[in-house]
């Protein structure tokens, strides 16, 4: 789940923005009382209207359930015109105009940037008991300088998906190391020159970041107010060199994930594997409907046999925006959705979310696999194991959007012009550091 279906950045959203303005202007009165997290029921019986942007399929059911139980706080779901960075850039721009929705879905890697641009607010005073429900690792994704800025919804460890039928025909097993993955990729391409075990995704920087995390990279670290940026560190260089080798040998496709070409290849059996993440079963039915029942999930191949660390691709928190006129009520909704049994059961059933809240990973709703993986009854058990060994960066950069757009440009060019991935990586590093220095962030080194 939680993935973009493309990166067409240009769908206009004037209509959505207009709706948002109308909705935020609609209700006055019921001002948040500050320390109380249930301000709605106090005093006047005016209904509070909230808006939420969320691109996940199945969210309407979640919102409807809340609205039925809370006549005082009515939430309206707005599908954003774009997902991922298309949405985050819009949130930053609209924040200046004061037209943001009350609540939004934001992936973890964009949170520091949202805080830096004052798009979202700290939830400390509205949700004081939140921390107890989450592991430190999950909390670290939303906590900056001691303040919590969002309620973690899910974690999305990277997972390897492969076509069981193709593998067994060739007598292959799911690769456990990257060396084996490379050998399998070559074997599959040799057996059928049209087939590929996977693709190198130059369009999605978070995919590459996840692979770098697994290798032990730490792109951003901080000490005090100082940043250290190490996007071209040894671990990341290792990952880049590995994939460059596969691309150069021609055993891996250079087509970006979710592109038209790749979707077609996934559906017609040309692409027989996908280095993806926990949410893939939510996307595969639309990407490759005619391959239903042929996929299996396995732990991501490791750099050294037995190392269980994986990175993440995606995963998001729900945040309350600085534009919201009813932050207390918004926080209340966000907490209900992401950290109560009722909310999380709805998310698991309707959105295929793998919850970040520790208690929720034992919910009975997780005992049956998502529909697309019905042949793999222990799907969620596997996810639970994998999720225990998630390795992340210390923090995501305050200008991660610059890093990511630079990644897409640099690696797409490297693929197009057959130039070195190492150089592309240096470019991403330089662009990121230059932009941080230009804005006035303290960057070490």
């Amino acid at each position: 789940m939680a993935r973009r279906s493309g990166r067409s950045a240009l769908r206009t959203a004037a209509a959505a923005a207009a709706t948002l303005t109308a909705a935020t202007l609609a209700v006055a009165g019921c001002s948040s009382s500050g320390s109380s997290s249930s301000a709605s029921s106090s005093g006047s019986h005016q209904v509070v209207h909230l808006t939420i942007t969320d691109w996940d399929n199945g969210m309407q059911t979640v919102v409807n359930t809340w609205n039925k139980a809370h006549p005082d706080i009515q939430v309206q779901l707005i599908k954003p015109s774009g997902t991922g960075y298309t949405l985050y850039n819009k949130l930053i721009t609209d924040n200046r105009a004061g037209t943001n929705p009350d609540i939004s879905e934001v992936e973890y890697q964009a949170l520091p940037e949202m805080v830096a641009n004052k798009v979202i607010i700290s939830l400390d005073k509205y949700l004081p008991g939140l921390a107890a429900k989450y592991s430190t690792a999950a909390l670290d994704q939303v906590r900056f300088q001691g303040s919590v800025y969002g309620v973690p919804q899910n974690i999305c460890p990277m997972v390897f998906f492969y076509r069981q039928d193709v593998f067994s025909k060739l007598g292959l097993k799911a690769p456990t190391t990257w060396d084996q993955y490379a050998a399998d990729a070559a074997a599959i391409h040799q057996a059928n020159p049209k087939q590929y075990l996977g693709n190198f995704d130059a369009a999605d920087p978070e995919w590459f970041a996840g692979l770098a995390q697994q290798a032990g990279a730490n792109w951003w670290t901080t000490s005090g107010d100082k940043w250290t940026v190490a996007i071209d560190d040894a671990a990341t260089q290792k990952v880049a060199a590995y994939w460059q080798g596969l691309v150069n040998k021609g055993v891996i496709s250079p087509e970006p994930s979710f592109s038209t070409q790749w979707n077609t290849d996934m559906n017609n059996g040309t692409m027989v594997g996908w280095v993806s993440a926990q949410w893939a079963p939510n996307q595969l039915p639309t990407i490759a409907p005619s391959t239903a029942g042929k996929w299996q999930a396995a732990a991501l191949p490791a750099w050294t046999a037995g190392d269980q660390a994986v990175g993440t691709w995606g995963g998001e928190a729900e945040v309350v925006t600085a534009n919201s006129k009813h932050p207390a009520q918004a926080a209340q909704f966000v907490q209900w959705m992401n950290s109560t049994t009722q909310g999380l059961n709805l998310l698991i059933k309707n959105v295929d979310a793998f919850p970040a809240a520790t208690f929720a990973q034992a919910l009975p709703a997780l005992s049956s696999p998502p529909a697309f993986m019905s042949d793999q009854p222990d799907y969620y058990a596997l996810m639970k194991t994998i999720a225990q060994n998630v390795r992340g960066f210390q923090i995501w950069g305050p200008n991660a959007s610059v890093t990511f757009s630079s990644y897409s440009d640099a690696f797409a060019s490297a693929l197009q012009n057959h130039t070195s991935f190492a150089q592309a990586l240096n470019k991403v590093q330089t662009t990121t550091v230059n932009d941080m220095q230009k804005s006035g962030f303290q960057v070490a080194g």
Binding site: L10, P112, F144, S259, S401, S408, S439
Partner: protein, 293 residues
């Protein structure tokens, strides 16, 4: 009273145009100029939550001019223009002359057919063409020809743009042709000129001003290249987010969250567009004059 009216009327007549120009062209351009001279400085801890807008002087312009990517994007735009502008002008002229030929039949239907692509929005046209180009879906040899290759990409993008605008330009030229005095053409016929000779020696020079005008529009259109490469971008690795100057402006302002740098590039581009427009006009005028003289 009697004297005042003739003075007031001309002013009144141009007022709507001037007001609109001031409000929606000059004012935004002025604001862009202002923004391009500013920059943002963050302070206040790790995430820099305190931001102040400070004067940047020429800093943003220096950054634009010293960024090799700016010149590369300009170069790529020119390459598309070098392919696209002549193709548009030549095809439009050819179609218009054919339609205007004496022996042409079914001209109304044909004119409509040629014009039709102009009615298709650029983004949709790009997506349609994208599917025609992609190996997975291509009926026009995408399996064999790599339409997204290092060199082919310029033709690929130019083709979408040309396909979209040729019809409009054809109609402009055709209208110019229909407005020519018929006796000139008839005189040529009586003198024994062939259909081709009439087209090339009589009609073509006479519609030279119209051709100059569509050339000018095509050049301006090329400078504003954005829709086609942006819509084609997700399909392959060939097009980066800064592929042409306008994409770079968009990327700076709305992806990299640097509205100031974006404004500087936008303003630079504005100056370049105006300069190019003036240059093309002067050139076209001289050409026309020379042919008349």
């Amino acid at each position: 009273m009697a004297k005042r009216r003739p003075r007031l009327l001309p002013v009144l007549l141009v007022t709507p145009a001037l007001v609109l120009l001031a409000l929606f062209t000059i004012a935004p351009a002025g604001y862009a100029l202002y923004l391009s001279l500013m920059k943002v400085r963050v302070s206040g801890g790790l995430l820099g939550t305190t931001t102040t807008q400070v004067f940047a002087g020429a800093g943003n312009y220096v950054a634009t001019f010293t960024d090799p990517e700016f010149w590369h994007s300009l170069g790529r735009m020119l390459l598309v223009a070098v392919v696209g502008v002549p193709a548009t002008v030549i095809l439009a002229t050819l179609f218009a002359l054919c339609l205007d030929a004496n022996r042409a039949r079914l001209t109304t239907v044909t004119r409509l057919a040629i014009f039709l692509p102009y009615a298709v929005p650029g983004v949709i046209a790009s997506l349609l063409w994208g599917f025609l180009y992609l190996p997975a879906t291509s009926p026009i040899g995408g399996e064999v020809i790599n339409y997204f290759g290092g060199r082919t990409i310029f033709f690929t993008v130019a083709n979408v743009a040309v396909w979209g605008v040729v019809g409009f330009n054809t109609v402009v030229l055709y209208t110019a042709l229909r407005a020519l005095p018929r006796d000139t053409v008839e005189a040529a016929q009586i003198d024994g000129a062939s259909e081709a000779q009439i087209a090339l020696r009589i009609k073509l020079p006479l519609i030279a001003p119209a051709i100059a005008m569509i050339s000018l529009f095509s050049v301006i259109g090329a400078l504003q290249l954005f829709n086609e490469p942006t819509a084609l971008r997700p399909l392959a690795n060939a097009i980066t987010s800064t592929w042409v100057p306008l994409m770079r402006v968009y990327s700076d302002a709305f992806v990299n969250n640097d509205i100031y740098g974006g404004a500087a590039s936008a303003f630079t581009l504005l100056v370049m567009t105006v300069t190019a427009t003036v240059l093309v006009r002067v050139l076209a005028n001289q050409l026309t004059r020379r042919e008349r003289g």
